[in-house]
């Protein structure tokens, strides 16, 4: 029924051990990040209080790109070494990455309103983030477009790699397009030089988001493993008319 390659008991045991630690780390880091970000750090001399938006916008954007690289990485492993766990990891990563990209866009537009007076600014970075969201949605749609999940994972893995190769080209062309049509936006998203007080909450939040990603990733992978076993058992029933 379950071929020895596709039965990740070893992974499940490992996941059980490290998940509580990751959960704890996430809560601690998040608490510290919020404390330093919202209460203990002074407003930025230039952007004033809105710098606090940066503490969630920039980590979300970092995570959006980090998750896409993780997605492309696990897809490469799945295609080259055909390890079924990599397929599950990719399938589990995509929704998390899409969520972070969405958050980056939302916080970006909430940042844009006070800064430039409009909800959406065709700033090069925000536009690239929007395109990245489409790449995520494309992956998720293709992943679930087939009846056979194996088929879905394989073709979406190829799409993820094609997308990954195209990200720099898209970034380059969007930057070119942006400079062509609009002078560089007044306030650089990341700020000219990152002052020490700002750096601390920024890094704390980034670390918190990363551990949060690992936490949800483990949960989603275990879900995929369980779903795989359910399909295998149903197949088993169908194939041999199992007398339970």
């Amino acid at each position: 029924m379950f071929h020895r390659f596709a039965n990740p008991t070893r992974f499940l045991k490992l996941a059980d051990v490290i998940q509580p630690w990751i959960a704890g780390a996430t809560l601690v880091l998040l608490g510290a990040g919020l404390y330093f970000g919202l209460f203990a750090s002074p407003p930025d001399y230039q952007q004033g209080e809105t710098v606090r938006l940066m503490y969630i916008h920039v980590p979300s954007a970092w995570m959006a790109m980090f998750c896409y690289s993780a997605l492309a990485g696990s897809c490469a492993v799945a295609l080259i070494w055909k390890h079924p766990l990599a397929d599950l990891a990719a399938r589990a990563t995509a929704p998390i990455g899409a969520a972070f990209t969405f958050l980056a866009l939302v916080t970006g537009s909430l940042w844009g309103k006070p800064m430039w007076g409009t909800w959406w600014v065709w700033d090069a970075r925000l536009t690239s983030m929007l395109v990245l969201l489409f790449l995520y949605l494309g992956y998720i749609a293709l992943n679930n477009a087939f009846d056979d999940p194996q088929r879905g994972s394989k073709s979406s893995a190829i799409l993820a790699l094609v997308g990954f190769v195209n990200v720099p080209i898209i970034k380059f062309s969007v930057d070119w397009w942006n400079t062509l049509h609009q002078p560089a936006s007044v306030v650089k998203m990341g700020g000219p030089s990152i002052h020490a007080d700002i750096l601390l909450p920024l890094l704390l939040m980034a670390a918190a988001f990363t551990t949060y990603y690992l936490w949800v990733l483990l949960i989603r992978i275990r879900t995929e493993v369980a779903l795989g076993k359910i399909r295998a058992r149903q197949m088993q029933k169908a194939q041999t008319g199992y007398k339970g």
């Binding site: 395109v131 494309g138 749609a141 477009a145 394989k154």
Partner: protein, 221 residues
């Protein structure tokens, strides 16, 4: 005659016999562009301003429309399986299909583009550069589209899915295609844009058939 020519000839033969495909693509292209004056208003200076962008976006959508059929009919009647079992590399088969797709969609779009440029009141100096940019850009659209067409084989709702997969990858071609025409219209040189368009094309030329063949192989697995 080489395998490549055989497959190309057969696909063109099929397209000719079914005739309507190229015509429908051009009809969609024309209608899509003609809609804009109704939406944006007939002032010629506004139309002229957005003409390159509108023509390019419409061409891109028209080229994408016929992509779904690229492998679908052969996949359904078993020809694709058989083509994969011929002593010809699958990559060559994919390349032949891409060339056939370009000849039946890309070329008619390029032929129809000047007419639409007139409709959209494109300044005179923009005509030649529009053709040149389209000639450099549309093959890339077919190449990248072939990957999308191979990926959605056997999926539910292939057509819509194909556009979601392929359009983000079309953005660079769209940006440089339109900016080439804009540059010439506003009196600048468009050499940089054309060079980049050519660069993207020559990168896509070997990579897309290779990835497309890999996608076909796992679709037939």
């Amino acid at each position: 005659m080489t395998g490549f020519m055989l497959i190309l000839r057969r696909d063109l033969h099929l397209a000719m016999r079914q005739g309507m495909d190229s015509l429908m693509v051009v009809m969609f292209f024309v209608i899509a562009v003609v809609l804009f004056p109704f939406g944006v208003g007939p002032e010629s200076n506004i139309l002229a301003r957005i003409a390159p962008g509108v023509i390019w976006v419409a061409a891109l959508l028209a080229a994408m429309l016929s992509l779904e059929r690229l492998f679908q009919t052969d996949y359904e009647d078993g020809s694709l399986e058989l083509l994969a079992l011929q002593p010809i590399a699958l990559e060559i088969t994919v390349m032949a299909k891409v060339v056939a797709h370009w000849l039946t969609t890309g070329l008619p779009l390029i032929v129809a583009a000047p007419l639409l440029a007139v409709l959209m009141n494109l300044p005179d100096e923009g005509f030649v550069i529009l053709i040149v940019a389209l000639v450099l850009g549309t093959p890339t659209l077919s190449l990248i589209g072939a990957i999308g067409a191979a990926l959605i084989l056997g999926s539910r709702r292939g057509g819509i899915l194909l556009s979601l997969l392929v359009l983000p990858l079309y953005i660079p071609v769209l940006i440089f295609g339109v900016s080439a025409v804009d540059a010439v219209i506003s009196g600048f040189e468009a050499k940089a844009q054309l060079l980049i368009l050519g660069g993207i094309f020559f990168a896509a030329l070997p990579l897309c058939p290779w990835v497309g063949a890999a996608a076909l192989r796992q679709a037939l697995d």
